[in-house]
Amino acid sequence: MLTSEQSIVEFKAAQVFPDKLKRNAHRHYFEFAEQMLSIYANGIGQQRRQLHKQVEKLFQDEADCPIRRIDAFCKLLDDKSVYYTDPDGNAARLRLQVFSKAAQFHPLVSQRDQLFEHVENDIKHKIAKELEKPWDEIEQCLYADVMEYQRLKEFEGYSGASEFLSRYNVAQLQAALYKAQTMRIWASGDFKTILRYAKLARLLHEIKRIGPSQYEMVLSGPLSVLHETRRYGISFARFLPALLACKGWRMSATIKTPWNGTARLSLSDKDGFSSYLPQPDEFDSSVEEAFAKEFGGERDGWRLIREGEILHENQTTFVPDFVFRHKDGREVLMEIIGFWTPEYLAHRRETVRRFRDCNILLAIPESSLKSDVVKAKDIVTYKKALAIKSVVEALCEFKIKVD
């Protein structure tokens, strides 16, 4: 991720536009990216500041490139680099050694006179001799631990110019979010992924159903309800790649402007950002996958939608595996309990109990059922694969609860 100092945003009509390199307008950046990658790939052993200077030089005659963009490129390249950091403190030890030797000759003058006879070059030569190393080498090592002077050890790099540039675009989006206060998401799918990553980023959610399989989620942190805070900006930035990997969403974040106003950062899955996270898996288990494939789009008036609704109470959420919607308006959720550990099953049971007033049909493997459990109407059992027939029967018999 970038630092705030590398963030470039434009504010126009209360909208925030983070810097974005476009396929056409910035076609020539492709070549820049390749050159930057090769500077680093060929730069093993060079100092950080030398590498940065080379990158900067590339853009010398480029009209369209702010300094912050160059700094951001360097940061993204450094993120994939390992530098020699002198963890044993060799440079510090050398400094103390050299400075202690030199102290008695202070001040080192450029020219000898009657009062001062210790000439800079003579003393340096003398110390070099004592340490049995040429002075140039000593001087090179003297501040080798300072960040700018560290030498490149390894460069992992990016898979190519195009990945590097798309990483840049995402990084600028993330950096713009450092100043975000809340994030509003309208989603029509991939709810599990969105909610799971929001929770991982320690964000709180507020969920509103705005239509069948349509949800509005507002993300913020504990403090946000009390006053404006930037505390959760980093969390939004961390969360973003997960959102970019999802489908069927748009998002609007409230961003604080430098002149203390607010602006919006709007984004959707159509904006062509690619996440470095993989797309969410379509199915949690093979039982689910096999069932969905066999069921097809519709049977006996029931349409099957994967992870189509969110059940929620305060900060607990539950996205059942499937929703069945009947032509006549009936709607039944189904959760397939897989073959899992007893702990997992207990946890699942607790969640289901919490939302027992919702219309949930449970599919449970026979082997997980204790013998003394009375089979309820809203439970179907299965051995290895879930049979369509038993599910459709259960659906037809399901008593819809109305609140």
Binding site: D64, P222, R231
Partner: protein
């Protein structure tokens, strides 16, 4: 044990820098206190942790109330070894205690603010979080707590996260981690408190339940006026010792000598060229837009290559100003003139510090300098083995430096506070003898203006102008 049923139990809980009131009905603001907000996301009332004391007083009158907020541990100091306070220090301590153990103490640098804070800690004997501006100061607090109170404090910052009942940290780390560690401290000490009211950093005070708070500074004012909020964040000013009073008594007298240096021909040429580029660009922009200024230029650097050119020219100018070769020559003259005297050299950038260090083989203290090296360098300087110590902004505030009579400022920005702090550094009581601060600035550059603004501070009233 309460048997009236779960629903009526009212529980106050800590939640990441806020307090949650569980069990209070949503349609009725607790005690009509405007500090509460209903948080529908979790189904509880919520407020900032800073109000903890007020809430507790109210709620303790309520039946079925349970307080689950972590309480500060009491601290036993293994070995108290503190100096007797001077009259002004005791006055500050007494005023703070009498004003409900909340408030700000304003004393000039070098008059023993830290000693007041340690006396406060010795007296309050409660879990304490000390917040300092930079990690050097954080380590310095750690050493002083160890020396004065015999306590090995925890450290949060500098890639360490080690919370103990008494912990030292920096403003940046406090801001980041306060939502984790804001409960459990009885006393907060804000060193150089003028760093606290910033839009983010203030959360270090707001997200903590500590009832006792002490702020320390020589210079509370902020140019953005936010220092007014310190009353809320810490408490009222309980003691204010003016700079003038300090100067004649506990601080030594000092001279300020400004040495203008000329750039060499090449530098001057590049410098003038850069100035011309910037001037011409701004003039050309003002033809269309009379109010055009530097900020607008910076905004346009992405689109307009000329604007970027002008910005680059500006950066080049700045680097010429701070790195002029001539400054190294002047430095040599000062070293010759004060041979045998301890001399501190302040520089504006790491690069310049390293240049001076390599030229004179003098030790440096930079922002990244490790603990061990720092101690060795400061100790070597205190013992007089090292005659010169080169430092960047790190030493600007509050870091205790061994006595020196000669200070040299090279580069640096012209804020009043920095000037006071830097002066304080070399003007520590040093046997009553005269101290001298040299300012080495480039002639005909904007550094001269900075030097002027630096002198506007009352500490600079007796500046002497001298050409070397």
């Amino acid at each position: 044990m309460d048997f009236e049923g779960k629903n009526e139990q009212i529980i106050l809980k800590w939640d990441e820098g806020t307090l949650l009131l569980d069990g209070w009905p949503s349609d009725n603001t607790p005690y009509n206190m405007g500090i509460w907000r209903w948080d529908s996301r979790v189904g509880n009332w919520r407020c900032d942790a800073i109000y903890y004391q007020r809430i507790k007083e109210k709620l303790s009158q309520t039946a079925n109330f349970r307080d689950e907020v972590m309480q500060p541990a009491s601290v036993h100091w293994p070995k108290v070894d503190l100096p007797t306070l001077r009259p002004e220090q005791s006055e500050a301590l007494d005023n703070w205690t009498q004003s409900g153990r909340r408030g700000q103490v304003i004393m000039p640098t070098g008059t023993g603010k830290t000693e007041v804070a340690l006396a406060v800690m010795a007296q309050t004997k409660t879990a304490t979080l000390v917040v300092a501006p930079v990690r050097d100061l954080m380590y310095q607090w750690h050493r002083k707590i160890l020396k004065g109170l015999g306590y090995d404090a925890g450290i949060v910052g500098d890639n360490t996260f080690d919370i103990r009942p008494v912990t030292v940290t920096t403003y940046d780390s406090a801001y980041i981690h306060i939502s984790r560690m804001g409960a459990g401290f009885g006393l907060l000490v804000f060193d150089e408190e003028h760093h606290l009211p910033g839009r983010c950093r203030r959360e270090a005070a707001i997200l903590s339940t500590a009832s006792m708070r002490l702020g320390l500074t020589a210079t509370p004012e902020r140019s953005d006026g936010l220092h007014k909020d310190l009353d809320f964040l810490i408490g009222p000013v309980v003691y204010n010792m003016p700079f003038r009073r300090a100067k004649g008594s506990t601080l030594a007298d000092f001279d300020v000598i400004r040495i203008p240096v000329a750039l060499n021909d090449e530098e001057q040429q590049v410098y003038s060229q850069c100035s011309r580029i910037i001037r011409e660009y701004i003039v050309s922009q003002r033809e269309e837009n009379p109010g055009y200024n530097w900020q607008e230029l910076c905004k346009e650097t992405g689109k307009d290559p000329k604007a970027r050119h002008a910005q680059k020219a500006y950066h080049l100018k700045t680097s010429i100003e701070s790195r002029a070769e001539e400054k190294l020559r002047v430095l040599e003259d000062i070293f010759r003139l004060h041979n045998g005297q301890q001399t501190l050299v302040f520089v504006g950038s790491n690069a310049m510090a390293i240049e001076v260090s390599k030229r004179f083989l003098a030790p440096t203290i930079l922002s990244h300098t490790g603990k061990k090296e720092r101690l060795a360098v400061l100790d070597g300087f205190a013992r007089g083995m090292f005659k010169v110590l080169v430092a960047n902004q790190v030493l600007d505030e509050g870091v205790d430096v061994p006595e020196a009579k000669i200070g040299v400022v090279i580069g640096g920005q012209g804020s009043t506070r920095q000037a006071k702090q830097r002066l304080g550094r070399i003007l520590r009581k040093n046997g009553g003898s005269q101290a001298t601060l040299y300012e080495v600035v480039c002639e005909n550059t904007k550094e001269v203006h900075r030097s002027r603004s630096r002198r506007r501070s009352d500490a600079y009233e007796r500046t002497i102008h001298r050409r070397v």
